[in-house]
């Protein structure tokens, strides 16, 4: 089996797709091509780079992030939630939270935005060849999970069985509604949905992600758990996974921090000596255990 050195473990540097522009602070211009309302607070923005050649040659790895700019409001970091095989556009799924996300939510089709991408490391998917993969997503945490899951599904022959556990607070909060019917019905994915608070329309599981996970009780043998969600969900889900017998190196998560530069200089997204923007956002639980507890 081929292994790629990834994520950047202390302290070697992994080669990765570099920014296609010389000034790492100057974004590439892009145009909003499509806006999808995923939930009352989440929108997916699909953008196309204005430079045709840049769009055609743009490559990234699943789990890498980009800085999306609305000029005049600022920029913020989001995972690229489309799979790398999608060459027509780049998708960012954005939850309404602060000034920049509000400006992103006000965008309309045809407007110009800025993109600095790809940034950060990515999911070590080649390490998972031959293994089962159990994806776990809570709320907007589905965004990075979507990109890696679609990528893995495209190459399903390389993997064992594939599972998704996707939870949200309530049914209306589940993002990617257009994708869900496909995820529920396709034969190469075993998909479970859950909400904290169900309503009469809800025919799936009710309960928080960690407790539903405990109920599903995936077998840890030859399985990698890949999770993303709010900090508190990550904390309890990892506890559950450990209880189920998952070893720390087989628990992979992707983190969020306040970021500005995205290129490892500005100094705020560190956990110990690692910077989430360049050494992350993807970390194994084993790596995180060796770092100061400051999530």
């Amino acid at each position: 089996m081929t292994t790629i050195t990834n994520p950047r473990m202390p302290h070697g540097i992994t080669p990765r797709p570099l920014l296609p522009h010389a000034n790492a602070y100057a974004p590439m211009l892009a145009t909003v091509h499509e806006i999808i309302e995923e939930s009352p607070t989440i929108k997916s923005i699909r953008v196309v780079l204005n430079d045709d050649e840049a769009q055609r040659s743009f490559t990234f790895e699943p789990g890498q992030v980009g800085q999306l700019s609305v000029f005049g409001a600022g920029e913020a970091t989001f995972v690229i939630s489309s799979p790398p095989s999608e060459k027509r556009f780049l998708q960012f799924s954005v939850m309404l939270a602060g000034e920049v996300t509000a400006a992103i939510h006000r965008l309309s089709v045809g407007e110009t935005v800025g993109v600095r991408a790809p940034l950060g490391n990515f999911f070590p998917y080649k390490d998972w060849f031959g293994k089962n993969v159990f994806f776990i997503a809570g709320g907007i945490g589905i965004a990075p999970i979507r990109t890696i899951m679609l990528h893995v599904l495209e190459h399903a022959e390389n993997y064992g069985s594939l599972h998704l556990l996707f939870g949200a607070r309530k049914p209306g909060d589940l993002a990617f509604k257009q994708d869900i019917p496909d995820w529920l019905t396709r034969s190469d994915l075993d998909c479970t949905l859950c909400v904290d608070r169900a309503d009469e329309s809800w025919s799936h599981k009710t309960g928080m992600v960690p407790s539903v996970l405990e109920e599903l009780a995936p077998q840890p043998e030859n399985t990698v758990a890949v999770l993303c969600g709010p900090p508190v969900m990550i904390k309890y889900t990892i506890e559950t996974l450990e209880k189920l017998g998952f070893s720390p190196e087989h628990i992979i998560t992707t983190l969020e921090k306040r970021m500005k530069c995205g290129i490892g200089i500005c100094g705020r997204c560190n956990i110990g000596g690692l910077y989430v923007c360049v050494d992350g956002p993807v970390f194994s639980w084993k790596t995180l255990q060796g770092l100061p507890n400051e999530l």
């Binding site: 005049g72 600022g74 800025g114 500005k260 290129i263 705020r268 560190n270």
Partner: protein, 366 residues
């Protein structure tokens, strides 16, 4: 080969004028206000300047307090007046600059900034351009001072790191020693007389400066000991009680380099929009507060812990040296008198050193 030239005190202005022919010359200038302070300003004929250590370090020469990364304008498309295009302008101009009479701790500060800005995964083009155009003429210190501790962290009163030329005060003026090629060619271009015959006085002055320093504690184990202290919140709480979470320690630090990026203006407006990079302060709660409200460093003790860890544990892990040059400005400028030396020694379990260095109550009379 080093080049030695002598700069007589009464030739200082002429020397500055010589430098100013080609470059922007920054000199320390004393400002009078509620208390006197020394800041770097652009020299011009007649500007009164001082050779005192500056209150504000010269890092703004390479990393301005605020700079425009690029401007953006939304303008009508040339081909189709009904359409608009966004035009970004990230042209950067770095003015050739020479800093005069900075101190060895500040020059070492440039070296600390160089690592992440020039040698990381991505190079910072703004910093790189300014740094390339910078010449550093450092005045070696004649003594230590009550708040500084350069020799604890790998420096010293005549440490050459980060400097192009070292100036040492000797009788009648300064002996200038080139450290880099850039410094050497500058001295050779100048009309300053040869100074080789005064080397002995220079060495004497430097030796005296070293001898004036107290004993330095051994900080070899600092990265490890501070990492071990990480989860000891009582420790951090105790040392942070007096902190008021202002930015005096970070903004006056020659090695602190964190920044924020914000947008101003409106690209559709005639004045256009601009993306700014400005100094930021890790002691402020806003530094890490996420839009969701989540904040990994909500408590001031957690922020102090990060600052100390960065300087003495994680920066050394990544780059092999401390990100502190011991200038002592965080000590002398802290409104509540927090002493980073005391925190450091306490983290290392070396309180006894603290006392012998006069950072606590005991008198130090020699």
């Amino acid at each position: 080969m080093n080049c030695y030239r002598f700069l007589a005190k009464d030739a200082l202005s002429a020397f500055l004028a010589f430098l100013a022919e080609r470059e922007r010359v920054l000199v320390p200038v004393e400002k009078n206000g509620a208390r006197s302070s020394v800041v770097f300003e652009e020299w011009h004929e007649g500007l009164p300047f001082t050779m005192l250590k500056s209150t504000v370090p010269p890092k703004a020469a390479v990393l301005p307090q605020c700079e425009v990364l690029f401007t953006c304008r939304r303008v009508p498309d040339e081909g189709d007046q009904n359409r608009h295009v966004m035009v970004l302008d990230d042209t950067l101009t770095a003015q050739p600059t020479v800093i005069v009479a900075t101190r060895p701790c500040d020059a070492r500060g440039f070296a600390v900034l160089d690592r992440p800005y020039l040698n990381g995964l991505y190079q910072d083009p703004y910093y790189a351009a300014r740094r390339k155009e910078l010449t550093v003429l450092t005045l070696t210190c004649p003594t230590g001072c009550e708040s500084c501790f350069c020799h604890w962290v790998g420096g010293g009163p005549s440490s050459p790191e980060g400097s192009d030329v070292l100036l040492t005060e000797i009788e009648g003026g300064y002996l200038c020693q080139s450290v880099t090629e850039k410094g050497r060619s500058l001295l050779e271009r100048s009309a300053l007389p040869d100074g080789e015959d005064r080397l002995a006085s220079m060495q004497e002055a430097r030796k005296k400066a070293y001898q004036s320093l107290g004993r330095a504690p051994d900080l070899k184990t600092a990265p490890q000991r501070i990492s071990e202290r990480f989860s000891d919140l009582d420790f951090w709480n105790r040392w942070t009680e007096a902190c008021i979470s202002c930015g005096a320690c970070t903004y006056f630090c020659p090695t602190c380099y964190c920044f924020t990026i914000t947008d101003e203006g409106d690209p559709a407006h005639a004045e256009g929009g601009r993306r700014l990079r400005s100094w930021d302060n890790c002691m402020s709660s806003l530094f890490t507060r996420e839009a969701s409200g989540h904040n990994p460093r909500r408590k001031k003790a957690e922020r102090m812990r990060n600052r100390i860890s960065h300087k003495y544990a994680t920066y050394p892990e990544n780059w092999g040296v401390f990100s502190c040059s011991g200038c002592g400005r965080c000590v002398s400028n802290c409104p509540t008198g927090i002493d980073i030396r005391a925190i450091l020694l306490s983290a290392l379990g070396k309180e006894e050193d603290m006392i012998s260095h006069g950072t606590q109550s005991k008198e130090t009379g020699q």
